[in-house]
Homo-oligomer: 389 residues x 2
């Protein structure tokens, strides 16, 4: 340890000399990696390190804090200026973290190039293998394709979407069922790919024969913007609690489905279409599936923000009559999932009471935890295995 | 300013209460955005801010430091703990930056969700519009598709690639020419997309009629790994000066070209194929184009690491005889570009002397600056306009 740290210091000094001093003339090509972080132990523990010799305070924030509601973990500084946290052995999962340093709330681990963005925040992640985490990691299985495409919608604009096509799509001439998978408030067409690990989950489930090969369409449901930050013509903007619960997204959905059916080898039938989403995307899935009841036979509401529609929008009127029309048509699956600690829990109880009172058939899955991606990855894995069988 | 800062503080306090204290139960959905950063002025200046009340030292690193070789800029702390740097008006460009805070070398701006990864380092970026920067920004033009695909290569593995297909590809039945575009040492199949802004450059040039619609294939030339961090089955690894100048990448290239010609509507002819790359990718382009002289009629060497092949590798033997065979076949374009401050400048002089001595025809472009992405984006824009005309 002492020796490798000394080596690290030499590398750091060298990289500072070579890298920093020549920034404008030579690209800063190589990471100045002064420590190894994260280090995953054979026992499933993780060690997180940050070289911060002059910092007064370094706090680790993550979703693997043992017994801590705050998600904060204390880091210990050694004599060389390296702050370190070592966890107990962790259950196999995908975990996220970031640092707070001297009052800066959000510092990404410079030693870990595994980074995902959720809404406006960058987070590091790591995967503890040996169980559920394996589902979120790329494995030696056939891989599907992820495409960023632009779809013309019926409000006259092109909008960016992410499309997952399964491993055999290019070679095959078959037609495939489609899952429309929607993000939450402030999210965009990158959310389910980056934080939701859609490609890894579906590649693995399909390879194991647990899910049918399907196309997955991930839209951008924040209608104010046409694409994720960096990919729209709107200049720089910061994702921040921007949503679309004003009827605009629902209004453009038929043109999206039409474009997908025209441009991909889909089975363009109700029985071969599913719609699901998390939080605001669960709201959208509920609204869209009842607005266009002949479109979807499978509906998934993941931690759905059920009763948050903007007042006075016609789309959101007559909920009960529209639900009656939808459920009377018959559904292959209407699936509601939420964590017991989710701040939308009561809203979901209210919605289930409404469905129960009418005798509408749905499946209910209650997990632990709250309004977190960990749940949404689990819900996607569970829901996708029930589709198109 | 005072008022908005006060509002920011309230938001920060609120977000700390709501966000941090409920991390494990509720997703940290919304960015805790205590300051606006970057702020781009109407005069083309940029203001970068970081809320770091307890930090002892905050340095801004970027490629827009006026008259500074080090790329470092001094930030001024105000009474509220916000560190600020305001630039002079900048030329229209895409600029990168990050912070060094209290001995942590590499801190990403938590207020700016525009982040790109180069090799193992995250950097923020912003675009000053009104000139060359417009070429790197998404505009209101038809957009091509970016796909992450997996290609079986002749070493028995599947390798991930990024493919750009131009805006009209899906609707058309035409066949297209292909540019193979290679990254540098430590890079991967994401490099040209993220830092190279391929999709934006090509969408814009094609829309302006300045470049022919073409397919662009961005391979992963670090043969040790099959995909970028997070997308391979090899577990966690840190990109760090890992390259492939041992003949392995050259050996697998024909199977890549064959797969592309089988799976995309290409014009599968020498006259409709180009290969170009930066640094190690320039080395690969030189080597591959001379190893398979009937494959490419257009060759681009961007800041190429010409003479860096591993000793004793047959691929790299008999350079002059192989170049003679290649140039004798005739080439539509052999293009060499390098910055006057590049550390590979002398190597390129030596190579040009070799070509000159033989009377081989090539075009030469010398820019300012050194071994930096700014040059490589310019080279791509210049080179792509000369292709397939």
């Amino acid at each position: 340890m002492k020796h490798s740290l000394f080596t690290s210091f030499c590398l750091l000094m060298l990289s500072i000399l070579v890298g920093i001093s020549q920034l404008s003339a030579q690209q800063n090509l190589w990471q100045k990696r002064s420590v190894v972080s994260p280090e995953i132990g054979a026992d499933g523990s993780v060690t997180i390190r940050l070289y911060a010799p002059a910092a007064q305070s370094v706090v680790l924030n993550g979703d693997f804090a043992e017994g801590s509601k705050s998600g904060q973990m204390t880091m210990i500084r050694n004599d060389e200026g390296v702050w370190e946290y070592r966890s107990e052995p962790l259950a196999s999962e995908l975990y996220c973290y970031w640092f707070s340093v001297d009052g800066i709330d959000h510092v990404v681990d410079p030693s870990n190039s595994y980074v995902m963005r959720d809404v406006g925040s960058q987070m590091n992640y790591f995967i503890i293998p040996g169980g559920r985490g394996d589902l979120y990691a790329a494995q030696r299985v056939p891989h599907g394709t992820l495409s960023r495409v632009w779809c013309p919608v019926n409000d006259g604009r092109e909008r960016r979407m992410t499309i997952y096509t399964p491993a055999d799509y290019e070679e095959s001439t078959s037609r495939y069922p489609v899952l429309y998978l929607l993000h939450g408030m402030g999210g965009d067409e990158e959310a389910w790919v980056a934080t939701g690990r859609v490609a890894e989950i579906m590649d693995n489930l399909i390879a194991q024969g647990k899910a049918e090969p399907m196309i997955i369409v991930m839209t951008n449901g924040c209608t104010k913007h046409v694409a994720a930050p960096g990919y729209s013509h709107e200049g720089m903007w910061a994702p921040y609690m921007s949503g679309s619960m004003d009827g605009s997204f629902e209004a453009m959905f038929p043109s999206i489905v039409e474009w997908i059916d025209s441009n991909y080898r889909t089975i363009a039938e109700r029985e071969s279409r599913a719609i699901a989403g998390l939080s605001m995307g669960g709201f959208h899935s509920m609204q869209i599936s009842k607005e266009y009841p002949d479109m979807f036979s499978y509906v998934g509401l993941f931690s759905a923000a059920i009763f948050r529609g903007k007042e006075g929008v016609a789309t959101y009127d007559d909920l009960e009559a529209k639900l009656e029309r939808q459920f009377n048509m018959g559904l292959s699956l209407y699936w509601i999932a939420i964590g017991s600690e989710d701040f939308l829990y009561d809203e979901n109880v209210k919605y289930r009471n409404l469905l129960d009172a009418k005798g509408y058939k749905y499946e209910y899955c209650e997990s632990g935890d709250g309004h977190v991606w960990r749940n949404w990855r689990i819900y996607l894995a569970d829901f996708s295995q029930m589709l198109f069988r």
